[in-house]
Amino acid sequence: MCGKPNPGEAEECEHCGARLKPLEVGGSSEDSEKWLDRMREDVGEAPTSSEMGGEAVNEPDDTSSEGPDDLDFDKLRAEQTEEKLPQEAEPAKEDVPEWLQRIREKKAEEPKDLVESNEPAPEQALRAAAPPADEVGSETAGPAPEEELRPGSEAEPEPESPDWLEEAEDKGALAEEEKDAEPEAALPHVPALIAGAEKPPEAELGDLGLPDWLGEIEPLEDEEPEGSAPDLARATLPNWLEAMRPVDTFRSVVEIASEDDQAVESVGPLAGLSGVLLAEPIVAMPRTSSVGSMQLDVSERQYDQAELLQRLVEEEEQEAPAKPKRRARLAIYRWAIAAVILLAVSLPIVTGEPSFALPSLEPRELGALFNLVEQLPAERPVLVVFEYEPGNAGELEAVSGALLDQMMARGLLLASLSTRPTGPALAKRAMDPYAERHGYQDGLGIVHLGYLSGGPTAVQLFAASPRDAVLKGFALPEQVRESGLTAWDTVVLERVQALSDFGMVAVITADSESARVWTEQARPYMGDTPLVVVLSAGAEPLIRPYFESDDPKISGILSGLPAAAAYELRNGRLGLAQARWDAFGTGMLAAEIVLLAGIGYGLLNLWRGRSLA
């Protein structure tokens, strides 16, 4: 232990007194007597074999679990043979220690039905893994110490029927008689006790005269063959005991490795010994706590959720099978529809045929709008708000063209504004052709206020105080910029201080949201100034209620190419609406034909499906 050299024949270390040569089983009888005496003294109240007069030999002795290193099994066997008593013989009460008497009384008080029930008490369940009580009782009280030390004793208790206890008692006498004839069960090999010695053969171990309970251990560890005990019904492991079982990570059975594989203990009082039972499995390895191991009260819903969670986790772990690549299908229908519509729209543009007559009827609201523009005062500028993106320019330029043409034909002053960054450029693009037609010049008849940032908040700010919302202007004439003037200083806007100073506000938009924002935020500041909206055809239904109510918030509405074409007819000048009228007409005709064909195809499929069904 101390590592210092000692003579070869020395049995104990001269320096530290540690034993150098391992003890062998079957030492001197004096050593065993000393050990037994020491243990008896330690037990105190436990009567020694001599005190019990030979009857107490069958009584349990806790010291047997100590595993003394100087155990003389031959002597013990001899003593047991000489002093063995019949199994049925009970020791005299006055000789039985008090603690053993309490155990026996407690055992006697146990109700019979509890023993026969499928859920034995914890003590019974523990005892089920131990040898029969009467057999053990002859040697030791309570479960075998080896079973208690072995971690797997709890994990894999051999389920024994409660009948086992009764049957074992009946067979006790017979078993005692046959005990001498039967070979003793093999003693678990503990190399630490016989270090350096070869493993004794089974026959020799059987002759050691081991206690009966120790001999019963080995069969318990083995798998009991089916039919070996046909009268014994397997007990159901109770839930509370199931919960006490160690987790899977805990090694339920400590397999004793071969002698060569066993590590030599390096620290502690057992340093130098090999095959020492490791403390880690008991101390450090995780296992189910026995404290509060109550059965969980799991509801059906919680159980379903737990199952769902488990299924999800299992699905996550599964490798998703590679989806077979879908075979690329040609979009025949899409191509055919696109080709038809494209051809229909292109044909009138390229060939000039077919042509459609311009609409002879006009929307009822068009007359009101036309008259409204006609009656606008020339000295008050008109604010035109361009609230659309470049993608909608093709439609809204055609629809709003007639309105711009009429206003410029009347010589009204125009100012443009937009709450979108691309709006000022679109405003210039939409107004320039008509300005050129009617001789308008930037800064004189038209001025672009530019971009109004801030969305609905900025609209309200502009309505309340236009000059504070827009500071400069967009694409101002060079002489205006050089002189340090702004759009508000031009002839167009010099008299405008508030929104109500405009003669009219026209909002050109592709979505209903912008029209609603201007109606909600700017209308209260406009006074008598009319608000007109030019809409994309898709947004008209949502804005029309503002126009058709008895107290209209919108004074005029213009939407759709037919209305724009009719407007141009009223103006008496050709515009973009009429230029695209034929293409629009053939395109709409083609679209209607495609829709009808689709409806017919769907009905045909429905009819075929029902016929097959």
């Binding site: 519509i341 993608g391 320019a393 330029e397 691309t422 530019g450 500071l471 400069k472 759709g560």
Partner: protein, 244 residues
């Protein structure tokens, strides 16, 4: 058509065809055109914002005031405080300093929400609610549409029925799948209850509304397509004429 217009028209025509190539599926030409359009739009919007908003509204007033004018209360309110909010908003770029930009975001979102909600109540909710309560007096003439007499009463009646039945359709007092018990069973045919009938009428009004909106969207798309085809045709003829 001068050379610049010719080149511009040609590029625009090619981009239009690249966008229309989506008909044959997602392809690199379509992606290139979309990236180009988005990039140009974003760059143009940024330039407009700087030129039209930031410089005249924020930079120039501070520069004109100079160091001596920084204490001017009006400049503090209209220039310094907005500049500080803009700088705080810039801190949103980095995750570690993003929380400082929340002040500006709170101001933007809070003020914007208040303006929108207030305007919606006073500008849409109340006027439209009152607008749906029109009088059935046949002598009243709509000042804008000119409707009067029976025509106007019919129109007002349609509005009334449409409003009520649409509201019935969106009532949630009946659980999904349960429905209303049949009013009667005649010759084995269930006669639906009044609520079911009203909900069906409301469903019809909603369907007609969506149909009109869809038809308008199709019409708008066709006008845009016609404009693009016309543009391409004009460009082609212009190129041919210039070559010839």
């Amino acid at each position: 058509m001068d050379t610049a217009d010719l080149i511009a028209g040609f590029v625009a025509s090619v981009l239009t065809i690249m966008v229309l190539s989506y008909l044959i599926g997602d392809n690199p030409l379509f992606k290139l055109a979309m990236h180009l359009l988005i990039g140009v739009a974003a760059g143009y919007a940024g330039a407009v914002a700087v030129q039209g908003v930031l410089i005249p509204g924020l930079v120039e007033p501070i520069l004109e005031a100079g160091l001596t004018g920084l204490g001017n209360p009006q400049l503090i309110v209209t220039g310094i405080v907005p500049l500080a909010l803009v700088l705080l908003l810039f801190l949103k770029v980095a995750p570690s300093t993003a929380r400082y930009g929340t002040i500006s975001m709170v101001l933007l979102v809070g003020v914007g929400a208040a303006v929108v909600v207030g305007g919606a109540i006073t500008g849409s909710l109340l006027p439209l609610t009152l607008g749906s309560m029109e009088s059935l007096n046949p002598n009243i003439v709509n000042q804008l549409t000119g409707e009067s007499g029976l025509e106007r009463m019919l129109n007002v009646g349609i509005v009334l029925i449409g409003t009520l039945t649409t509201l019935f359709y969106f009532q949630f007092t009946i659980r999904k799948g349960e429905g209303e018990a049949p009013f009667a069973i005649v010759a084995g045919v269930n006669i639906p209850g009044p609520l079911t009938i009203l909900r069906g009428i409301g469903k019809g009004f909603i369907a007609v509304t969506f149909g009109v909106m869809y038809a308008g969207a199709v019409a708008a798309t066709l006008i845009v397509l016609a404009e693009r085809v016309q543009f391409i045709w004009d460009t082609v003829t212009g190129v041919v004429e210039s070559i010839g």
